[in-house]
């Protein structure tokens, strides 16, 4: 209460404070880890950032475009597989399968990561082009269907390990940087996340973003105004898929492993949960959501084997009492959709 007196109840002011505090914490993580002698903290934090990146990508289409993709794991997974497969071949010295020629993959991040983004974007283009014919719950389910198809495909093709997945024996290479160093890796994730947040926050305020948000509110009206709605939504879907692909590339490096589990619907569900938990249509919210969910898992799982019996009701309570997600709770108002 005292705090709110100082900073006032002005929502935009509180937004600034929260954002600043958040940034401060994010930059301080490696320091704190050193201070408390918990080097492992940096690894958890990196994973949080990576999931935050996917969650933000989902928020872009879910929170602003009203497209509830229940198959975002597909893009995450594909991005990860791109890194996994290229590294695999470069490590084994074999040619990339299903491709003409005998390119033996690479471990260069500047090839791997953009390729992960492009391929995920392409996948999003295909899935989006078909799925966007539907809307609402039907859209949720058709995206899920496509992701499941991909999941079962990856599980059954033996070339890349099937259900066993692929080990990544070498992390991606970036000149002058060592991705094996937890702190460098953390800062790469952080920079990419911040970059993505910045771009997305520009996008949602731009003309394109306004069209997207209009579509979420009343698509029929947007059509009648003359907007070829389908194209805008598809564009957003592809953008989102690309960001998710990038997150996948990072995740592959973080886990040093890729498997079809990334594409399973439960994973897509978790990403969605992060967005809703944090507060959709706010961009910052998904970051909070990712941090909260992963930390809760981390902390609760360390306390008891039956940790889910606490996590479950907590989620219910958050829904009931924090209407606009955690972000809304902090900011004291809803999303910035309006």
């Amino acid at each position: 209460m005292f705090l709110s007196k100082i900073i006032g109840s002005d929502a935009s002011f509180r937004t600034k404070i929260v954002t600043l505090l958040g940034l401060l914490i994010l930059f301080a993580v490696p320091l704190l880890a050193n201070l408390f002698n918990e080097p492992f903290l940096v690894d958890i934090a990196s994973r949080i950032l990576i999931y935050a990146l996917v969650a933000v990508s989902l928020d872009l289409i879910l929170g602003y475009g009203g497209m509830v993709s229940f198959g975002h794991g597909a893009f995450l997974g594909l991005g990860a597989y791109v890194v996994g497969i290229l590294t695999h071949h470069s490590y084994e010295g074999t040619a990339v399968a299903f491709l003409p020629g005998d390119w033996q993959g690479t471990t260069q991040a500047f090839v791997q990561w953009p390729l992960a983004m492009i391929l995920s974007g392409l996948l999003a283009l295909i899935i989006g082009a078909l799925s966007l014919r539907t809307s609402g719950v039907y859209f949720i389910m058709i995206t899920l269907a496509f992701a499941q198809m991909l999941y079962f495909f990856m599980i059954s093709i033996p070339t890349y390990g099937g259900e066993d997945g692929l080990n990544i024996w070498e992390r991606s290479e970036i000149p002058l940087l060592d991705l094996y160093d937890a702190k460098s890796f953390y800062f790469i994730c952080l920079v990419l996340l911040l970059l993505c947040l910045w771009c997305c926050s520009r996008i949602v305020k731009s003309r394109f973003g306004m069209v997207l948000r209009g579509c979420r509110q009343n698509e029929v009206r947007m059509k009648a105004l003359g907007y070829p709605v389908y194209r805008y939504k598809l564009m957003a879907f592809v953008l989102s898929g690309m960001i998710a692909g990038l997150a996948g590339a990072l995740l592959a490096n973080h886990t040093e492993f890729v498997g079809p589990g990334l594409m399973h619907w439960t994973r897509s569900g978790e990403i969605m949960i992060m967005v809703i938990l944090g507060g959709m249509g706010s961009l910052i919210g998904p970051v909070l959501g990712s941090a909260t969910l992963l930390m809760m898992e981390e902390v609760l799982a360390g306390l008891t084997e039956h940790w889910m019996i606490f996590l479950g009701p907590m989620l219910v309570l958050i829904v009931l009492f924090a209407r606009k997600g955690l972000y809304g709770l902090l900011i004291g108002k809803g999303t910035d959709n309006g």
Binding site: L130, A145, F146, W265, I273, H306, G312, V319, L320
Partner: protein, 305 residues
């Protein structure tokens, strides 16, 4: 040829089983506009209670009754304590809350019954087979399920189309507030409808018990399939749920039954097996995608739209 008949029967049976789940979900989802992921948990509760009670009392009938009561009560409790606050909220809030409930129930069941699967046997009089397709004895229990499912479908249809409660349920789908303003306690009605949906899930769980593993997480496996069914059928339509369920049952069964043979005609055996298996794994998802691309709102129009 008889193999084809037998497989068709299998498809029918699987479809009916799915319908039992889908009917409850489509009631709650299509009419109350509530996405209830915890529907699978109610199914699990039904199966667990049926297993325990059957074991303790040696009566499958008692087990089913207990499952109905347990699932119904749990459902009403959920509705009353939390879900009714979510009717006017975004679908996604409902997703998050009911996802939380899944976690809770899975863990609760594990604590109460242990992590290992439970045993539920077929009742004595249904444990044999019937050979009405010559050369292909068919489990009587599966026939029983087909019968039970069809009876439920008819009863449900009667309830929704011909009774006043059914009218009010449908009315609430479009103008919930108005039903209240005309003097009907819509909150109570919705609690009852939710309980009914929960009972259907419990029934499905109890009936599935003798055939399937009664284990933690059994609900989620069938939940997705159930959603596929009601999406294909068109949300909120009981008829759609039935048609969707049968379609999914048939496509899945035929895919698994005949794709390997067909693929072996086309490819070398080793890759034929893999390809056929992969194709039949995704058959229902392909079915759903095709249906939605062709008819973006499912096969049958929902009540509410």
């Amino acid at each position: 040829m008889e193999l084809f008949f037998e497989q068709s029967l299998n498809g029918l049976q699987q479809g009916v089983m799915l319908f039992l789940m889908a009917a409850g979900l489509t009631l709650v989802f299509g009419i109350m506009h509530l996405i209830n992921l915890a529907h699978g948990s109610l199914y699990m509760i039904g199966a667990y209670v049926a297993a325990s009670v059957t074991q303790a009392s040696d009566s499958f009938t008692l087990g089913i009754l207990a499952a109905l009561v347990a699932a119904g009560l749990t459902g009403m409790l959920l509705e009353f304590s939390a879900l009714r606050r979510l009717y006017n909220r975004d679908h996604l809030d409902q997703v998050l809350a009911t996802f939380g409930m899944i976690l809770f129930f899975n863990e609760l069941v594990k604590i109460l019954w242990g992590p290992q699967a439970l045993f539920l046997s077929t009742p004595e009089f249904l444990s044999g087979t019937l050979e009405f397709i010559p050369g292909a004895p068919y489990p009587s229990y599966r026939l029983f399920i087909i019968g039970a499912g069809l009876v439920v479908a008819l009863l449900l249809r009667h309830l929704i189309i011909h009774t006043r409660v059914g009218m009010l349920i449908r009315a609430g789908a479009t103008h919930r507030e108005m039903v209240g303003a005309l003097g009907v306690n819509i909150d109570e009605l919705y609690t009852i409808v939710f309980g009914l949906g929960a009972m259907l899930a419990g029934l499905a769980g109890a009936l599935a018990g003798p055939m399937l593993a009664v284990e933690v997480g059994m609900g989620e496996k069938i939940l997705i399939l159930t959603f596929v069914v009601i999406i294909i059928g068109g949300i909120g339509s009981v008829r759609g749920a039935l048609v969707g369920a049968l379609l999914v049952g048939m496509v899945d069964t035929y895919g698994r039954a005949f794709l390997p043979t067909i693929m072996r005609e086309l490819l070398d055996p080793a890759s034929a097996d893999t390809v056929a298996a992969s194709m039949s794994s995704v058959a229902i998802y392909v079915l759903m995608a095709v249906v939605l691309i062709w008819k973006p709102r499912g096969l049958f129009q929902a009540y509410g739209s």
